[in-house]
């Protein structure tokens, strides 16, 4: 976003700097583990075994990674336009509401029609919730960061109201809708691949993972290979130049935000339609915020986002298993790691670039 203080070769900029900052963040996490009296090497071994040690573990890891791909891409697309969308949580919440309403109200439709419609409803919900802040920034000059924060909270109260007062299941103890019809939900991966002769253990991994992979390709095509993507990147690099070049800054702002919100909606597709099969409170569970770390670590590029999402998937699944063996290291460790990665790869980027440059012996200030 800001001008780079030191020039680095592309491979160092895209590969080495994120690698160094992520390693530093993991070292900080290791210090926290030592601080609470556990052995970080043992914890790492348990974590890796828990995340990658079996077919079931890998299924869970990829299921978590699916969430992070969607939220990471959402932040990345907005970032390319120079916009900072921290409203992923709220946009995913609205997407969940959209998907749930579609699954409940359109239940008489056949699954082949209902599932795509519900996915579209999720995308539309997320897009709409991001479009309003985008529109306010484009036409009224209200800063998108603040409005998306506010929209997170408005979405949080909205979903409580809907679930408690309107669409909640009166029979259940907690605020949630009734379960969707069996044909309204996404197919789990182990059932999807069974006809091909592949026997996979039962995990929450479902066809939303394929949608996430498609989104990675789609975002790459959109941002780096399309006219619109070029316009979005121009806007992000220099809004005034974009304006002089005859691009409509306000239209691009709104389009970028809408695409970003629609991608955040993928989180709802995976969680609500793929796993929970009903709408419940707090299904976003902070994935939207970790998406910021994923996007920053991945340098906004789909390949980087995929790798970063995989790392966080490993941390999430491995962290759950680790918490099982070592109750003092809870899943909140991942939140800490996410925070430190955001700090190192995002806010202290300049420092790490300088460190890498010094390490490579280049870019010394004259």
């Amino acid at each position: 976003m800001s001008a780079a203080p030191v020039e680095l070769p592309v491979w160092a900029d895209a590969g080495l700097v994120p690698l160094v900052s992520v390693t530093a963040a993991l070292l900080v996490a290791g210090l926290v583990v030592i601080g609470i009296g556990e052995n970080p090497l043992e914890a790492t071994a348990l974590l890796l075994r828990g995340a990658l040690g079996s077919g079931e573990a890998i299924g869970f890891t990829l299921y978590y990674a699916t969430n992070f791909i969607f939220t990471g891409l959402a932040v990345a697309v907005a970032y390319h336009a120079g916009l900072f969308n921290i409203g992923g949580e709220g946009q995913a919440t609205l997407a969940g509401i959209g998907a749930a309403l579609a699954c409940l109200w359109l239940a008489p439709l056949p699954g082949l029609l209902l599932v795509p419609l519900a996915i579209l409803a999720a995308a539309a919900g997320g897009a709409a919730w991001a479009l309003i802040p985008g529109w306010l920034q484009a036409t009224r000059g209200s800063h998108v960061v603040i409005t998306t924060i506010m929209f997170n909270f408005i979405a949080a109260t909205l979903i409580v109201y809907l679930l408690v007062e309107l669409i909640g299941n009166p029979g259940s103890m907690q605020p949630e809708t009734r379960e969707f019809a069996p044909h309204a939900v996404l197919t789990p991966m182990h059932r999807l691949l069974a006809p091909l002769g592949l026997v996979l253990p039962a995990t929450p991994l479902n066809s939303a993972f394929l949608l996430a992979l498609a989104s990675l390709c789609g975002v790459w095509l959109l941002i780096f290979r399309s006219r619109l993507g070029f316009a979005i990147r121009t806007l992000g690099a220099n809004p005034r130049a974009a304006s002089y070049a005859g691009l409509s800054v306000s239209r691009l702002t709104m389009v970028a935000m809408a695409v970003s919100g629609a991608l955040a909606g993928g989180l709802a597709v995976n969680e609500v339609m793929g796993v929970q099969h009903r709408l419940l409170l707090d299904f976003t569970a902070g994935y939207g915020f970790v998406g910021i770390a994923v996007a920053l670590m991945g340098r906004g590029h789909p390949v980087g986002v995929a790798l970063a999402a995989l790392l966080f998937g490993i941390l999430y699944q491995g962290g759950a298993e680790l918490a099982f063996d070592k109750p003092s290291i809870t899943r909140d460790m991942v939140v800490v790691i996410g925070g430190v990665i955001i700090l190192f790869a995002g806010a202290l980027d300049g420092l790490f670039r300088r460190l890498v440059a010094a390490g490579l012996g280049i870019g010394r200030a004259p």
Binding site: I154, T157, F289, V335, G339
Partner: protein, 324 residues
């Protein structure tokens, strides 16, 4: 029920609920007036709440707890300052990082140290701030009609941090408006190049503002854990740092309007708790969620410029690069 008594009780809880908002909002005002945007108010309050609860429990003194809370919040402030001022990093990104760091660390450390799912042991006696009775409170309640109960409930009978928080409002206004430091601090938020030309350190002023921001966040967070509640609960700030952010915008970055905005948001909160399940004549059942969403909705409407106009300090959010 006696209406004066009801009013006094609602206003009393308004005061209690607006204190954390007020501390965080004043903290945000200091930081943003110097040109450093801070969306990490929430995380700093949370960290302060945790540190103060832990130290108050260990030392048995609420004041030591408050000191620890302030130190913890200032430490996070300095991290933000290091990223935002020294390394000219993205201030929003740094704020998000601080929020996540605090949310995760408080639970992990609390769980590792006390094993109660992130809670800290409950504070008793001297480890918690006691309510102070102002002179004549009991007498006024008995003898003076209307104003008596108001004085006894609303003005008197709060803990020390409450009075500190309210005292911070005139102090902030005075320092910002009438001192050399305040003038320079405001200038650095509007036009840092001019301050730099005058030979005053931009980074020094901004670090000063960020530290004051930490102290105030520390006060607000400690109040939550050591005065309002008797100990730390995971995620106990519950978005108050963000409502405070809204209050700063709502008040157009000015101290006295910040006080009014925080009291308004505190009142909304108090009314929302009281209206739970109550049917109002003529309106019917008001959904609590609608009242809870009001501060955020009002802020968005204000930011959109449909009523009034929010004008942030001009250099806010921009790292200062010396021209060469």
């Amino acid at each position: 029920m006696d209406w004066a008594q009801t009013l006094a009780v609602i206003l009393d809880s308004t005061i209690r609920l607006s204190v954390p908002l007020l501390c965080a909002a004043l903290a945000g005002l200091w930081s943003e007036r110097s040109g450093v945007v801070d969306i990490g108010l929430e995380g700093k309050m949370l960290m302060a709440a945790f540190a103060s609860a832990v130290i108050a429990h260990q030392s048995g003194s609420a004041w030591t707890g408050l000191g620890a809370g302030i130190l913890a919040a200032v430490a996070l402030s300095l991290v933000h300052g290091f990223a935002a001022i020294t390394w000219r990093g993205n201030q929003i990104v740094s704020g998000v990082a601080i929020n996540m760091l605090a949310a995760g660390l408080t639970i992990i450390l609390g769980n590792a140290w006390f094993g109660q799912g992130g809670r800290t042991p409950s504070l008793e006696g001297e480890a918690r701030f006691a309510d102070l009775a102002l002179p004549f409170a009991a007498w006024a309640r008995e003898t003076v009609p209307v104003l008596g109960p108001l004085y006894a409930e609303m003005v008197s009978g709060h803990a020390a941090p409450v009075y500190l928080a309210f005292a911070a409002v005139p102090a902030t206004a005075l320092v910002l408006r009438h001192t050399r430091f305040g003038l320079r601090l405001r200038a650095v938020g509007e036009n840092p190049a001019a301050v730099d030309t005058a030979g005053v350190s931009v980074a020094g002023l901004r670090y000063g503002a960020v530290i004051i921001c930490g102290v105030l966040c520390g006060l607000g967070g400690s109040y939550l854990a050591v005065s309002q509640s008797a100990g730390f609960l995971p995620h106990m700030t519950a978005g108050k740092g963000f409502i405070a952010l809204a209050a700063v915008i709502f008040a157009n970055w000015r101290p006295v309007p910040v006080l009014l905005a925080c009291l308004l948001f505190g009142l909304l909160d108090a009314v929302a708790i009281r209206l739970q399940g109550v049917s109002l004549p003529g309106i019917g059942l008001v959904p609590v969620q609608a009242i809870q969403a009001l501060p955020y909705l009002m802020t968005v409407i204000l930011l959109a410029g449909f009523i009034g106009r929010a004008t942030p300090p001009r250099a806010s959010g921009l790292p200062y690069v010396k021209e060469r």
